[in-house]
Structure formats: C-alpha cells, structure tokens
C-alpha cells in the first residue's frame, strides 16, 4: 500500500508542478499583452488612466503636441497638430496606443521616468504617478511648412538633420485626426486613401532615378568608375528627327533620348552629366560593371533590406521581391536606374541623402530626444553613427554631382540663391498608362549640411515639377532663407 500512496503523492505533485508552471506563464510571460489589451482590460486601463496624469508630447522647441486634460468625464487626450498623427500616434482606451504614444507609454504613464528612484518610490508607496513629458526632435514650424508645400497630394516627406540623425519633420498624406479617431475609426479603416498608414516610414514605392545616387556612390566607392570617366553614346535619329540611343542588356533594351544632341553622331558625357541628366543607359552600364553582388552589398549598407532603427514602426526597403531576381544582367540594369523590383520607403531615401551629406556615414535616425519629469530630464536619443557606407572621398564626389544636378540638371527647381543645394529627382514608372510617382531627395548647404530631405508625391507626375518645389520649400524653411 505504501507504494501506491507514494504514487498518489507523485500524481498530486505533478498537478502542483503544472500549476507552478502555469502561474509564471500568465503572470510574467503573457502579462504585458493581457494587461495592455483594452478588449480584456478596459476597466483597469481606464482606472490607471484616470488616476494619473499622462505626460505631454513636446516638439524640439517645447511646443505642446499632445496633452491630457482632466475633465469630469475622465481624462481627455488632445493633439494640437493632427498632421503629426503618424508621429505622436494616438492614445485610446478602445483601440490602444500607437507610435510614440505606444513606444513611450511607460514614461508617459509615469511607471518609468527621468528620475528612476522617484518612479520606484512612487510605485512602492502607491502614490499617484505623474507622467513624464516626451520631447521630440520634430520642429513643428518646419513640419507646417512641409505640410503646406505638399498641398492636397498623397505622399510623404521626411526631413533629417544629417549630422545628428534628428528627424525634423515627417509628413504622411493623407493623415487622420487623432482627436476624433475613436469616433471615425470604421470610416478611417475603410478609407481607400489609407489615412491610417504612415507612408513616410511604411510606404514602399518604386524609387526611380533617386536610386541612381546609390549606384553612383557604389560605383565610385568600388572603383568601377571615376569622376573623369567619359560616357560614349552612338546617337541615331527617329522619323521625327529626334536623337536617341538604344542599348540592349542581356536582351533588355533601354532607350535614352536626352543627351543634348539633335543629330546622329557620337555623344560624349561626363559622369556628372549622366547623373544630372539622369541617363538610364549609363547607370545600367555602371550597375552591370558593379555586378549584382556589389550592388546588393552597397544597397544594404545604405539600409535596404534592413529595418532602420526608429521609435515608430517602419518597413525595410527591398531590392527585389523574388530571391535571385538580380542574378540576371537585365534585372541588374533595370534596378540600376531605379526600376526593377525596387521598393523603398521615403525614410530610406532621406537616409541616402543624409548619408552622402554626412560624408559617407549613415546617422542613426531618431524622433525622441529626451524625457522630462519635473525638473529632471534624461537624454534618450543622441547623435549616433548607424554605420559606415562609403568613403568620405566618395561621399564628397557624389555630393558634388548632386550639386551639379541642381545647377544644371533635372533638379534645377531646387536652387536657392546663395546656397549650394545638392539633389536628385526621380520619376518612378509604375504601370504603363499610370501617372508616375514624383521624387526628390537632397540636402543643403553642401559644404555644411543642415538638412536632408526625401519627398514623394504619389501618381503626381515627374519629380522635377512635382516633388522638387516641395523639397525647395523645406530646404528654404530649414535654412531660414
């Protein structure tokens, strides 16, 4: 009988052990997602909400972007600049939090603060918590300018201080009003214009000719070309008397019309000119010389195929949709002038401009600079290198050619008197018959960069007429011109 009593004891022990394992599962492992889910925990979240004052979100100059008022009906969160909805995000008892409201919730709610000891003691003594303020790198004035310049177009603009990586403005059009989103939720979710999607960090677009900046930097850095190289084209004329050049890459024919020639013969252009004129054939040649291996390697160094570290959600830009796509020279040629299967976010292309501006080293972008609790403050984000991309010499050469593109090429519209502006336009073809996306990337002043931008207008037309004016307005405002 003793043995069977032992065994019964063992069976009960197993029961207790299973319980002892289930407890940490619910109390630790699943704790955060259950507690934070308003579908299951609305009451507690409301209680926490109403028992503490949520911290504010401020811009770099202290302008209040989000704040909480205590009303008789409970706490009410208000947003002074709905255009920043994709940065601040929303804070909702029904739909949860998003973006900065989500990423910095422990600080805003006061569980964590600039003064960690105070936060700990408050918790221990069950004192009502006071949320900390979150200070952004965003400049609300610059944001307003970028906003206005975009007009009613769909698209996005990203403005980075290239030396530090601070994001000064982040436009995503259309946006939603976080003050009324709870009420409008269904309408916003079903809106074909997708106002809830942050196009600046999560919108993936064909980059078009702006990607030539990546190929140019890669080709110079790896030594497959140099700034003195002259490109030769044998021009022919069509029935209308227009000069053109046709070149085949592994069966893929690329047509180029604009080389300043009107009659048949030999056209010779410097590297800076093929960049300024955005010659597809020249860049296809450079890409093939690089080969898919180096092309992929350099693009990855610029940030393609990786998640760019940021406080709010962003999507990695892609070099190809299908693996192995770039094994074919025709694909390499198409990719080299910004088509192929390329998909890039506006944030990624702003990072390309910022990397060239910073002398070949990619800065790490960030949106939150500090946390303030009363008189204490802690620095959260500070200037950091993300990684080295190309040599300083290469960066200087690319920067010069970007200035050349603004001085003489398609990006002429971005000229600002008295400032050396560097830039590159892009006109991304989507499907035959569809209006292309207009792109502009650039930075200024070339000798002491203060601002780097990427602008896209969806289905708006050529970059030179659609995106360049927006870029110019942003650069002017950022430099105070």
């Amino acid at each position: 009988m003793s043995q069977s009593i032992y065994r019964t004891g063992l069976a009960l022990l197993i029961g207790f052990v299973i319980i002892a394992l289930a407890l940490p599962y619910w109390q630790v492992i699943r704790a955060n997602d259950l507690v934070g889910d308003p579908r299951y925990n609305r009451y507690r979240l409301n209680e926490i909400e109403n028992s503490s004052e949520r911290g504010r979100i401020l811009d770099r100059n202290g302008v209040v972007l989000a704040s909480t008022e205590m009303t008789p009906n409970g706490a009410r969160r208000t947003y002074s600049m709905p255009a920043l909805a994709h940065v601040t995000g929303f804070h909702s008892a029904i739909f949860g939090d998003s973006d900065i409201e989500k990423a910095f919730a422990p600080y805003l709610q006061g569980q964590e603060g600039a003064d960690p000891f105070k936060a700990m003691f408050d918790r221990l003594l069950h004192r009502p918590t006071v949320g900390s303020d979150v200070v952004l790198t965003i400049d609300s004035k610059l944001q307003a300018v970028a906003e206005e310049a975009m007009g009613s177009s769909k698209g996005a603009a990203v403005v980075i201080q290239p030396k530090t990586g601070e994001i000064l403005a982040l436009v995503s059009h259309p946006y939603f009003d976080p003050n009324t989103m709870e009420k409008d939720w269904d309408k916003l979710k079903n809106d074909p214009g997708t106002p809830m999607v942050n196009r600046a960090t999560q919108g993936l677009y064909v980059p078009g000719s702006t990607f030539k900046t990546v190929i140019l930097a890669a080709a110079l850095d790896s030594g497959v070309t140099n700034p003195d190289e002259i490109f030769d084209f044998k021009m022919e004329t069509d029935s209308y008397g227009r000069a053109y050049h046709l070149e085949s890459f592994n069966g893929y024919e690329i047509y180029c019309a604009n080389h300043g020639m009107t009659s048949p013969g030999r056209a010779q252009l410097r590297l800076a000119d093929v960049f300024a004129q955005s010659c597809n054939i020249a860049f296809a040649r450079l890409g093939v010389r690089l080969g898919s291996q180096r092309l992929i390697e350099y693009a990855k160094r610029f940030g393609f195929e990786t998640q760019i570290p940021l406080e709010i959600p962003d999507l990695p830009s892609q070099l190809s949709l299908k693996p192995g796509f770039l094994n074919d020279n025709a694909a390499v040629a198409a990719t080299s002038f910004g088509q192929g299967q390329l998909q890039a976010s506006p944030l990624q292309l702003a990072m390309v401009a910022a990397t060239i501006a910073r002398g070949g080293i990619a800065p790490q972008p960030f949106l939150v600079s500090e946390i303030r609790t009363g008189k204490y403050s802690t620095t959260v984000g500070q200037p950091k290198q993300w990684h080295e991309v190309v040599s300083p010499t290469t960066a200087r050469e690319v920067a010069d050619m970007m200035v050349h593109a603004v001085d003489t090429g398609w990006a002429k519209g971005a000229q600002v008197s008295g400032v050396r502006v560097a830039g590159k336009t892009g006109t991304a073809e989507i499907l035959p018959g569809e209006t292309p996306h207009g792109w502009f990337i650039g930075f200024a002043p070339e000798d002491d960069p203060q601002v780097a931008v990427a602008v896209i207008k969806e289905y708006a037309g050529p970059g030179s007429t659609e995106a360049v004016p927006v870029g110019k307005a942003i650069i002017q405002a950022a430099l105070g011109k």
Binding site: I5, G9, G15
Partner: protein
C-alpha cells in the same frame, strides 16, 4: 486592510488578528498537552491559510468578514474537539453504513430541495432559513470515511483476480460493486448539482483510495473511463456544463460576455506580475464571484507570482505532511483514512486553481481554507483534526 482603507492603523482593526493568533496559540497548547506527538506542521499551515483567507475576505467582501471569522473560530473548536475526543478513530468504522446512508440522503435532498442562491445555474446549496449549506463539502468526508472502512474490511480479497475478460484481469466483484455504486452516486450528484467540480473531486478521491488499497492501476483507467463517460454525458445533457467547457476552450472571442469571468481572472493574474499590486491596490472585484470562485486570482493580482507560488507551496506541504501521516499510520484503516482526507484537500486545491488558470474548465468548488464559505471551512478543519489524531496515534506506537 484597514491601513489601506483609512490610511492609518486603528487598534480595533487588529482585533481579528489578535483573535486568530490567540486561537492558534490555544490550539497549539491543547494539542501539545493532549497529543504531544502529533504532526507539528499541519496546524501552522492551516493557520496560515485561514489567515490569508480571512485577509482576502476582508479585502474582497468586507460585509462577509464577520461570518467568515465566525466560521474560522467554529472550525478551530471543531478541530480541537476532534483531536480531544477520547478513544481512537476506529469508532468511525463501526458506523460506516450510517455514513453511507447519510451521504445518499444528503445527495437526494440536494437534488430535491437544492437552491441556487446566486443564479449561477448550479444547485450546490441546501437552505435552512438564512443559513445555506453546501452538502457536497460534508459528503466528501463521509465518502472518505465510508470508503476507508469498506476497503479495509475487504482487504483480504485485495489481489485476487476473480476472472479474466480477454486481455484484462478483472477485479473481484466486491470491488466492482462499490466502484459502480460510487460512480452512480457521483453521477447523481452531477445531475443534482449540474457541476463537474464536486463530481471530479469525489470520484478522484475514491479512485485514489481504491488504487491505494489494491495497488492495481486498472482502477485508475476504469475510473478515468467512467469519469469521461459521465463528463461527456454532462456536456451534452446540461447546457451549463457545455457552456463552461466552451468557455474553457476559448474565452477570448466572447471576452465581454460568457468568457468575461475567466478572462478577467487571467487578466488579474497578469496585472499582478511578479510582486503584485499590494493588497487593496488591484481591481480583483472586476471578477464576478471572486471571493468564492476566484480567490486565487485575487491573490495573483495583489500578491503577485510570489504570493501564488507561496500558496501553492503551502498546499503542497499540506499534502506532503498528510501523506506522510498516512504512510506512518498504525493500520490500514487509518492509513486509508488519512490518505483519502489528504487527497481531498490537495485535489480540491489543484482542481480549483487549475480552473482559475484555464488549465481545466472552471468548477464551482472552493479553495480550501481561503474561499468564503462555512461548510467548506468547517469540513476542512474537521479533516485537519482527524489527520492530527491519526498522526498522534502512529507516533506514539512507533
């Protein structure tokens, strides 16, 4: 609790604590004086668990606190009485059929006159005027005493195989009969109360005792099969049981409706984290019927993982000491009795805690010594009294 509520310490608020400490000292002194060689761990654990229970009731249902402390005091005295009664526990064996008849009578009256005071769909109570009484609590002690007596009488037939059916060695008829009878009783209880919990508990205890007496695993499988048949039947016959099982499988999709109670229980556990919010600083009252069905979730929220693990450990030590008493008991009757009583408490804790944690479907049984409820409190104290007595007798003889 008063510190939390009024932000200051009032002397009066400490009276219940003094009272409980006094009771424990009294019980200890009486135990030491009358049964010096009895188990020394059981009483502190019982005291600890009932103190936690009282604290929790004063936190969750302050109005019921005076009732609960009255039950605890009464429980302590009953326990002392059981320990002090002269003679040996063997007199229980003499009246075994009385207990069995009493048990059957209890079940039948519950089925006929049972009431459902909180509208949960389970008729677990018998009402006498204002006092509600939960027969399944008393039933479990009666069953353990009866089964221990019966099995002890038939011990000689223990390992005999009366006949074989195919591959299986079938047990002797004297074992099949009580098995079927108890199963029928349990099923009857299930029909009467429409709740799987007490059935699972009673049947589990019975099978464990049968296995202990015969050392034959066939009873475990047979018992399991019979239980599954009963459970399957209940699932299809009683909407109430089916609902509980469905909620258990997926509480999330109807988190605001049927699944509300269980989801709130799990969220309460999650809110507690490792150290808990502190007594009085959580929101365990969001769980409907928290102080009867979900006290463990309230502990999880306000005392955290450390608190819940500590309580699991208390039940584990209780079970360990109880089985130790059983192993060291003088004769097979005391051994079976001690084992059955221990398994009753241990299994009950496992079943209700597992229900709270979504390991098994929720059932309407109490957390021993902690849940609010008089019948369960008194029964559990009687169990401790019996265990202490058996432990004393065995120590003295060895």
């Amino acid at each position: 609790m008063s510190l939390v509520r009024h932000n200051e310490l009032v002397l009066e608020s400490l009276y219940p604590a003094f009272l409980l400490i006094g009771l424990l000292i009294l019980a200890h002194v009486l135990l030491f004086w009358s049964r010096p060689s009895s188990d020394q761990v059981m009483l502190p654990i019982t005291g600890m668990l009932s103190a936690i229970g009282l604290t929790l009731v004063s936190r969750l249902a302050p109005k019921e606190f005076s009732h609960q402390i009255a039950w605890v005091i009464l429980g302590f005295f009953l326990m002392i009485l059981v320990v002090l009664l002269p003679g040996s526990v063997h007199w229980l064996k003499r009246y075994k059929y009385t207990w069995a008849i009493l048990g059957v009578a209890l079940i039948t009256t519950t089925i006929v006159f049972g009431v459902d005071p909180n509208g949960s769909g389970e008729r677990l109570w018998l009402g006498f005027g204002d006092i509600l009484f939960q027969p399944s609590e008393v039933l479990k002690v009666l069953l353990v005493v009866f089964v221990a007596s019966y099995l002890d009488d038939k011990r000689e037939l223990l390992s005999e195989n009366a006949f074989r059916v195919g591959f299986f060695k079938m047990p002797a008829i004297p074992y099949i009969v009580p098995l079927l009878v108890t199963w029928s009783l349990a099923v009857l209880l299930l029909i009467g109360q429409k709740d799987l919990g007490p059935t699972l508990l009673l049947f589990g205890v019975f099978i464990a005792m049968l296995y202990a007496a015969t050392s034959r695993t066939v009873y475990i499988w047979a018992g399991l099969l019979l239980f599954l048949i009963a459970a399957y039947g209940a699932y299809h016959v009683f909407g109430h049981v089916a609902t509980r099982v469905d909620i258990w499988i997926d509480p999330w999709t109807d988190a605001q409706g049927k699944g509300y109670q269980l989801v709130q229980s799990l969220v309460a556990f999650a809110s507690g984290g490792v150290v808990g919010t502190g007594l009085g600083f959580g929101y365990p009252l969001l769980i409907p019927a928290v102080y009867t069905d979900f006290p463990f979730a309230a502990i999880g929220e306000e005392m955290g993982l450390l608190g819940t693990l500590a309580i699991v450990l208390l039940y584990l030590v209780f079970t360990y000491r109880g089985l130790k008493i059983s192993l060291e008991a003088q004769d097979s009757f005391e051994q079976l009795l001690a084992m059955g009583l221990t398994v009753t408490v241990g299994l009950q804790a496992i079943v209700i805690i597992s229900g709270n944690l979504k390991l098994i479907p929720l059932t309407g049984i109490t957390l021993p010594f902690i849940s609010y409820g008089g019948s369960s409190m008194l029964t559990n104290f009687i169990i401790v009294g019996l265990l202490l007595r058996i432990s004393h007798a065995s120590e003295r003889s060895s």
